[in-house]
């Protein structure tokens, strides 16, 4: 029996894996190890069935090369496949420059892989063109956290702190379905006498747990926050001492919210003024308030500002740094946190260092044994990178690790056409995903049970996944793929060779992160095993940092910053031709692009559907179960209607685990985080 963690979301629930004949069996880890503070030994059905891909006929076990002329696939040896890829990468670089090659990573990759991928791009390919799908996850919260606190760690406290706050406000989070075991903490909070507030255009199973549920128009979480702060200031509930001692910038924010009285907010957000007052009353009278945002608040062209507006509310109440209170982001992907700290983001180097900072470049270059001058600068962000593929100025090749772009990118039809214009598309995956199916070369890689590596969960807690079984014949780990390509590209850097052992790479990562904001230098695999995970920052000799901000914030002056933000609304408002709001999200039994979960037979796959309210169904003549057509300016989708009273009548919802939803979504980007506006666009529906 091997102790490890679930392969899916950022909760990273502990689990055990045991071999039962040819099968792999999932068990609850707390039976052996009672200490499982994140998930309390719970798992959802995704976790319970996670081993279902083991031995599946869907697994790829040999590299595949596609003939462009005929479209036919043929099996190749690893040497043939890697030689082919390496020679094409070399040709492209020689003919078009280093930025002709691009890399796209994922928020599900381990820290070791994320680190190695960033190093591979900068050292072996010499390209600035690397980014990852984490941009589409929590980048708006990351940008807001950096602006307000000077650091970006999803939750600045352990998740279980929820149980001891007074009021927990969830803005755009459906954690009861997206990370079910986390909902236990909400129930515990309510048992302790605390209150739960949920803000969502849909009354989800999370909303059903709420003492107060607010149902705004999609894209209006920002004015709601402005209205809450307006009311808090109106009754004198802001913490003047805290604001004076620990923050800057409040006066402009205080004045700006004078324009957001409850009836004004009601008109913009569709939330009744009385409900806004109820929320403000709850917050004004609570000693400890915790506001948690998720994708519903963040995946907007104003996602960063929306998070900042809620952050302002917590700062005005004097919460960040107080025990069992403050602001946090509920990260989505398994390693959404660690994935953004170690260099697969276009503007960053390991340790959450900025790539345009000369000191950061010098430090990392020394660890990598290269001249800092050779490190490329900032590259394009995820969507902009994909949008540029195959254009005269853009990259001509793309290497994809841990991402299924065709399903998960916004405005997906357009992005799929960009992939088609590449000279070379290489996808490393364990199954023939929709993106792999378009590739020139597909490289079969290990899945989580077959490999070891660290993840950083939504709390900033570094945890360890351990290999329970050997991979099928013919399958290699991403780390081996990277090393194989790097060696062929003759990128043997001075100090280090291209390791394939996760622990050796982690040791290198520790050195590279040392002194950075996300300092892992004091963390070892043994410590993780002994301590049930270690929170960063953890310099050598430190015990780790479960809670941030008790004494100081991470800006040079030690203060948190209020940022004055204004509501400008979604990039695409409803019109006569597209009179509705479309929002997207997840269902309990599926995960992200569904490349894994749709192939697990024990998970129900009901396919894509369109959720709409009876009032709207009546208007357009739709019936539950019958197909409807959804159109946006970018595409259309036909899928069965689900008529439910739990959604706003002016809004429709489509889950994004299947091809379709993202053909509809808008690619407008947040100016700061470069997050696309997945969560709202204008749409029409017809029966």
């Amino acid at each position: 029996m091997t102790d490890t963690h679930c392969p899916y979301c950022s909760l990273q629930c502990g689990m055990t894996l045991s071999r039962k004949g040819p099968r792999l069996e999932v068990g609850v880890r707390s039976q052996k190890n009672k200490h499982s503070p994140v998930d309390e030994g719970a798992l959802c059905r995704k976790g319970w069935t996670a081993a279902g891909l083991r031995g599946s006929r869907e697994r790829l076990t040999t590299p595949m090369v596609r003939d462009r002329a005929t479209g036919e696939w043929s099996a190749a040896t690893w040497d043939e496949a890697l030689d082919l890829v390496a020679s094409k990468l070399t040709d492209l670089r020689e003919n078009h420059g280093a930025d002709a090659n691009a890399v796209f990573g994922g928020g599900g990759l381990t820290n070791e892989k994320a680190y190695q991928l960033g190093k591979f791009a900068r050292v072996a390919l010499g390209t600035s063109q690397i980014d990852y799908n984490g941009r589409w996850c929590m980048s708006s919260a990351a940008s807001a956290g950096n602006q307000a606190f000077g650091v970006d760690r999803g939750l600045p406290f352990p998740l279980a702190d929820i149980e001891k706050t007074d009021v927990c406000v969830l803005v755009g989070s459906n954690l009861a379905e997206t990370m079910p075991p986390a909902a236990r903490h909400l129930d515990r909070l309510r048992e302790n006498g605390g209150k739960v507030v949920v803000i969502d255009p849909r009354l989800t199973p999370t909303g059903e747990r709420a003492d107060l549920f607010l149902q705004p128009v999609p894209g209006t979480d920002l004015p709601l926050a402005l209205g809450v702060l307006h009311l808090l200031d109106a009754v004198g509930a802001v913490d003047e001492d805290y604001i004076a001692e620990r923050t800057t910038g409040f006066e402009d924010v205080r004045r700006s919210v004078a324009a957001w009285w409850p009836e004004m907010v009601e008109r913009v957000s569709g939330v009744e003024a009385a409900q806004l007052r109820e929320l403000a009353d709850l917050l004004a009278n609570a000693g400890k308030v915790m506001v948690l945002t998720a994708r519903g608040a963040e995946q907007h062209a104003q996602g960063t500002d929306t998070v900042l507006a809620w952050l302002n509310v917590t700062l005005a109440l004097g919460m960040p740094g107080k025990a069992y209170a403050g602001y946090g982001c509920l990260t989505g992907q398994g390693n959404g946190q660690g994935g953004r700290e170690h260099g697969q983001k276009a503007d960053q180097l390991p340790g959450y260092r900025m790539i345009d900072d000369p000191a950061a470049r010098a430090h990392v270059a020394a660890v990598w044994g290269v001249d800092p001058e050779t490190l490329p600068g900032k590259g394009r962000s995820a969507y902009e990178l994909l949008d540029a593929l195959g254009t005269p100025e853009g990259p001509k090749s793309l290497l994809v690790f841990g991402s299924n772009i065709v399903v998960s990118a916004p405005n997906a039809t357009h992005i799929t056409s960009r992939l088609a214009d590449l000279d070379l598309l290489v996808v490393a995956d364990m199954v023939m995903s929709e993106t792999a199916a378009l590739a020139d070369v597909v490289l079969p890689v290990t899945q989580w049970a077959e490999e070891t590596g660290t993840m950083t969960n939504l709390e900033g807690r570094v945890i360890l996944r351990q290999a329970a079984v050997t991979p099928p014949d013919g399958v290699r780990s991403d780390l081996e793929v990277i090393a194989g390509l790097a060696t062929r590209l003759e990128a043997v850097s001075g100090a280090t060779r291209w390791q394939t052992d996760p622990e050796a790479i982690f040791t290198e990562l520790r050195a590279a992160s040392k002194g950075g904001k996300a300092d892992y230098s004091g963390i070892t695999y043994d410590r993780i095993r002994d301590e049930d995970g270690v929170f960063w920052p953890c310099p050598e000799g430190s015990g780790g940092t479960p809670r941030l901000f008790a004494d100081t914030f991470s800006h040079p002056d030690g203060r948190a910053r209020f940022v004055d933000v204004e509501h400008s609304g979604p990039a695409e408002e409803p019109s006569a031709a597209y009179p509705l709001h479309l929002t997207t999200g997840r269902v309990l039994a599926q995960y992200q692009s569904g490349a894994q979960t749709r192939r697990i037979k024990d998970l129900p796959d009901d396919g894509i559907f369109v959720e709409l309210h009876p009032l709207l169904a009546d208007r357009v003549g739709a019936h539950d179960g019958d197909p409807v057509v959804v159109r946006t300016p970018r595409g259309e989708l036909k899928a069965p209607a689900r008529v439910v009273t739990t959604i706003r009548p002016d809004t429709i919802f489509v889950p994004f685990h299947w091809v379709g939803a993202n053909r509809l979504t808008n690619d407008a980007l947040d100016p700061s985080s470069r997050m696309p506006e997945f969560k709202v666009c204008a749409a029409a529906v017809s029966a």
Partner: protein, 510 residues
């Protein structure tokens, strides 16, 4: 957004000078728009009041005691200074000289302009009540207007002996005792402002009455039926309303009405409407109808360098008197002054009463708009809800006493959504309440109980104990939310299941 340092510079001769006359909410929004477009250092604001622009519509909340006076300012004086805006408080403009393109202030100072914006707002109408203005020309001390922060401060002082703190200093809402001399108040005017002021005084513990000259409350917004509902609600809240009555004379006995009544009072608040403040424009020989007549770029029809926004402006034969159209005009004008294309196409008004225990929302002009009328009234409960629908769109409406779905109705009105034929009616009905989990034992076997593990009621009924459920079905091992239902199912499993035909109806089998 903060961050970038702002470089201040005097306007160079090539840069145009924008002068805004007025320091109200429209002017404040216009300045924000100009600052965002880099025009701050070219902008001068001539504001008559001594306070930096503040949120006027919150004054009744201040009076009521639900909003701190210190939390009214829209921007600090410093904010303007930091952005290079020349904000001159206490500046009374006496003339606009269009020939020399200058604005003249009291005391003969002149300010040159290239473009001038009138944002002079409205002035309260003074009803012809004898005795309000005394023989020596001064106002009877019992009489108060209610439009400015100073009016509000005087009123608070009168009723509470409270000194209003206008600075940004915190300080909670005041809890001092009512001023002993004010026990009775009369509000003249039964419009939105009148109702708000009356509620505020009433909440402050002052016996308050309303005098309205027309035949029902909110005369220009709602119809007779809704007006009656409102009158009853006010009566239940302790405020007597005198309709069709005009105040004619203020004497030592009180306020005399033309119906013969005399209302004993220590305080008379005048809220009987206002009119566009257009005297400057008239003196400058600009076309003034009810307001200063402007085109789709908010430009005076007489002079391409003169603009008007807010309560003083008349666009397309309409003057509004509300904040949201004024702000929309300010947004359009900021674009126009920055040299960009922008057009003001009119604005849909949503009027929301702000007063404790009194719920009113008026969309557009329900009494003037043509269309099919869908309405539902419950005079017993004190509610009246009405929508005017034309070509499937909500073109006007009034919700009195019951604001359910106001957020949704407003969205449909603002976006002019084409509704289905049943929809307007359904929007007016109460929302169906969701069913609770009381019927768990009666759930059919195929009903899903645990979504995290995908477990049905039948599968749980087949188990012996909670441990059994956990081990064989994995229900309760995810979010844990189904645990109460699982316990209920286990507790009732010993009793034989109800016959299928009786399962559908909750409660006692008939």
């Amino acid at each position: 957004m903060s961050g970038e340092p702002i470089v201040l510079h005097e306007p160079t001769p090539q840069q145009k000078r924008i002068v805004i006359i007025g320091g109200g909410m429209a002017a404040a929004r216009l300045v924000e728009g100009l600052v965002a477009r880099g025009l701050g250092p070219q902008t001068t604001v001539l504001a008559e009041e001594q306070h930096a622009p503040y949120n006027r519509i919150l004054l009744s909340a201040v009076l009521e005691g639900t909003h701190r006076p210190g939390a009214l300012a829209l921007r600090e004086k410093q904010w303007y200074a930091d952005r290079g805006v020349d904000l001159r408080l206490g500046s009374l403009v006496v003339d606009i000289h269009r020939d020399t393109k200058t604005v003249e202030l009291a005391g003969r100072t002149t300010v040159p302009y290239d473009q001038v914006v009138l944002a002079t707002g409205a002035i309260p109408s003074l009803p012809p009540i004898r005795g309000v203005v005394r023989l020596d020309g001064s106002m009877d001390p019992r009489v108060q207007a209610f439009r400015s922060l100073d009016d509000c401060a005087r009123l608070l002082d009168a009723i509470r002996g409270e000194v209003v703190n206008l600075s940004a200093d915190p300080g909670s809402l005041s809890g001092s005792q009512p001023h002993p001399t004010v026990r009775h108040a009369v509000v003249v005017g039964g419009g939105l402002l009148g109702l708000q002021v009356a509620r505020a005084l009433s909440v402050r513990g002052i016996a308050t009455e309303i005098v309205e000259g027309r035949d029902h409350l909110l005369n220009s917004q709602v119809g007779t039926t809704a007006g009656k509902v409102l009158k009853r609600s006010m009566a239940q809240l302790g405020t007597q309303v005198y309709l069709g009555a005009r105040a004619t004379r203020l004497t030592d006995e009180g306020l005399k009405l033309d119906n013969g009544y005399t209302l004993e009072t220590d305080l008379v608040v005048l809220t009987a409407g206002g009119r566009p403040r257009a005297n400057l424009a008239r003196r400058a020989e600009l076309t003034v109808n009810r307001g200063i007549v402007v085109d789709d770029q908010l430009r005076s029809v007489d002079d391409p360098d003169v603009y008007a926004i807010g309560d003083c402006a008349e666009h397309n034969a309409t003057v509004t008197g509300f904040v949201s159209p004024a702000w929309e005009q300010a947004g359009v004008l900021a674009e126009v002054l920055a040299g960009n294309q922008a057009t003001y196409e009119g604005h849909r008004v949503v009027a929301r009463l702000r007063a404790t225990d009194l719920d009113v929302c008026v969309l557009g002009e329900p009494e003037n708009e043509t269309g099919e009328v869908v309405e539902i009234a419950n005079p017993v409960k004190g509610t009246h809800r009405k929508l005017v629908v034309r070509d499937g769109r909500i073109v006007a409406g009034a919700l009195v006493g019951d604001l359910s779905r106001v957020g949704l109705i407003t969205q449909a009105f603002d976006r002019q959504t084409v509704l289905g034929e049943h929809e307007a009616g359904q929007l007016l009905l109460p929302e169906p309440s969701s069913t609770g989990s009381s019927g768990v034992p009666q759930l059919p076997d195929d009903a899903e109980i645990c979504a995290c593990a995908g477990v049905t009621a039948g599968a749980i009924r087949a188990c012996q104990s909670l441990e059994d459920v956990r081990d064989t079905t994995r229900a309760t091992t995810g979010c844990g939310g189904c645990a109460p239902s699982v316990r209920q199912l286990l507790a009732t499993r010993q009793t034989s299941p109800l016959p299928k035909s009786l399962r559908t109806v909750e409660g006692t089998p008939s």
